[in-house]
Symmetry: C3
Subunit: 204 residues, 3 copies
């Protein structure tokens, strides 16, 4: 038997390469040029993240007595509210500004690896729920850079997903999903949040 490939074999291989390339290029093409996609079956496979991170952050709301420790303050309130007690009707209308320490575990006094900075508004009368806009500002041996988050936080749910809309530094151009969980709270002053960050777009 001849060990050399025939010309026909080569043609087949080349054709295979062509088909292979076309088949593989399709998803990329769709992604960028947006030809309509066929609906996928109901049970979708969640893609694997390109980076996963878990942090805790700690929100201590100013209540008129804790100015030394407070990391958050009510700065806007509806006509029926004030700025030292969260408003009635599930805090509807309260605007809170925060600068909370980020820790690697659930200990408030662990060394902070960064700060969670931004705002939330309680946006519903009937139930506790908020809209969040904030950034994680990292400045540790591990990470330097920021991640910016936005989304709805129906905070009575065990877990709730917000969007990671951008990043800088180590998180250059990142996008993803952050799952928030209320890990602990004390009255209406201390809230500890756990956040599981899954990035699905990583540039490096």
């Amino acid at each position: 038997m001849d060990t050399k490939p025939s010309s026909t074999t080569l043609l087949a291989l080349s054709s295979f390469l062509l088909l292979f390339f076309l088949a593989n290029s399709q998803p990329s093409h769709d992604q960028h040029h947006n030809y309509p996609r066929k609906p996928r079956p109901q049970r979708r496979a969640i893609p694997k993240p390109c980076k996963e991170l878990v942090f805790y952050f700690h929100d201590i709301i100013y209540n008129g007595k804790n100015s030394r420790n407070a990391t958050a303050a009510i700065v806007g309130a509806p006509a029926w509210g004030n700025r030292t007690i969260l408003a009635g009707q599930n805090h509807f209308g309260d605007v809170v500004v925060f600068d909370d320490p980020i820790t690697l575990d659930n200990n408030l006094h662990a060394p902070a690896v960064g700060r969670a900075q931004g705002m939330y508004v309680y946006d519903k009368k009937e139930v506790f729920t908020a809209w969040l806009g904030f950034s994680f500002v990292f400045n540790s041996t591990e990470h330097v850079g920021t991640l910016t988050f936005a989304g709805a936080d129906p905070l009575m749910n065990k877990t709730r997903d917000v969007s990671v809309v951008g990043g800088t530094g180590d998180f250059f151009m990142a996008r993803g999903i952050a799952t928030l969980m209320t890990d602990a709270f004390e009255g209406e002053v201390y809230f500890r949040l756990r956040v599981d960050i899954k990035l699905y777009e990583c540039w490096w």
Copy 2:
């Protein structure tokens, strides 16, 4: 004539494959590694969306008398304003928090398929214009998940585009453009907005 391809033909085909691949890989390469693009001609073809959705949402601003129906409240105002009447100077400086029902048609009393939650600030003295940050929180038989929006809303324009900056659940990692239209309003209390959502990045 010989039906078998000559070696020369094969070389040509292989070269074609190489060129074809290089030509096709270029857009994808550009997209990710960002070599500068050549300017395109003025009239650009708008890409086809990977998903299109139309909704209405209904904003009833608290005016001191309608607390039962109100879905929005003024929570911040400049020094010259207050929180039960929208400020003068085109409401410049008013911060409004909302939790509005989303419907499939323009009827306020149609079953809500979700809630539009977030905030807007009137940001200009000379003319009505606002900056928006909000999410659609869907919880219907049709959709479960969120879409998050941000952008300027020059609300005296017939249509204005804001960015869809992220999504979760059924709208996992989505991006796109939302076109807002004031569909109806009554005085300075009720506003009905139509929103045409066009997603250009769909993960499923």
Copy 3:
């Protein structure tokens, strides 16, 4: 010597094409389907932007006396603050709404090519730092469309990066990084910011 390529050469070429294609397709594949990436070496090459823009914008905060010129107003403040003087403790808790002219050079009186519209919150007690959400609304011969920004602004730093989270019109679907620099300020009333915008996702 025979000038025609041997079959072996052709096979090698085809194999090369296959390998070449696989190697090149990997980044695109990673980007979209998110297989985990290998960590890159510490010194990363910053990708080349697909578009670069430089602008100045001018923030004149209302101080109770300058209502004719002011482009920004304090609209939220913590319990210890008010809305005509920025609060103590590094303005922690102040919410500022703005509509600032954008110019091509550092001259406040140069023709505006658009408006910077949105809000910032001073979010830290110990040092000046803010969280920003705003859009550039362009309407000039050069550009029509918007860019939307979000992120932390540790404004005592010489430069600070925020995320470009979306765009419309000429900046359809754009993403990138904006570097803010305080170019000049007068007291606590006038701030001139220089912003270097680098887009890394351009759709046209």
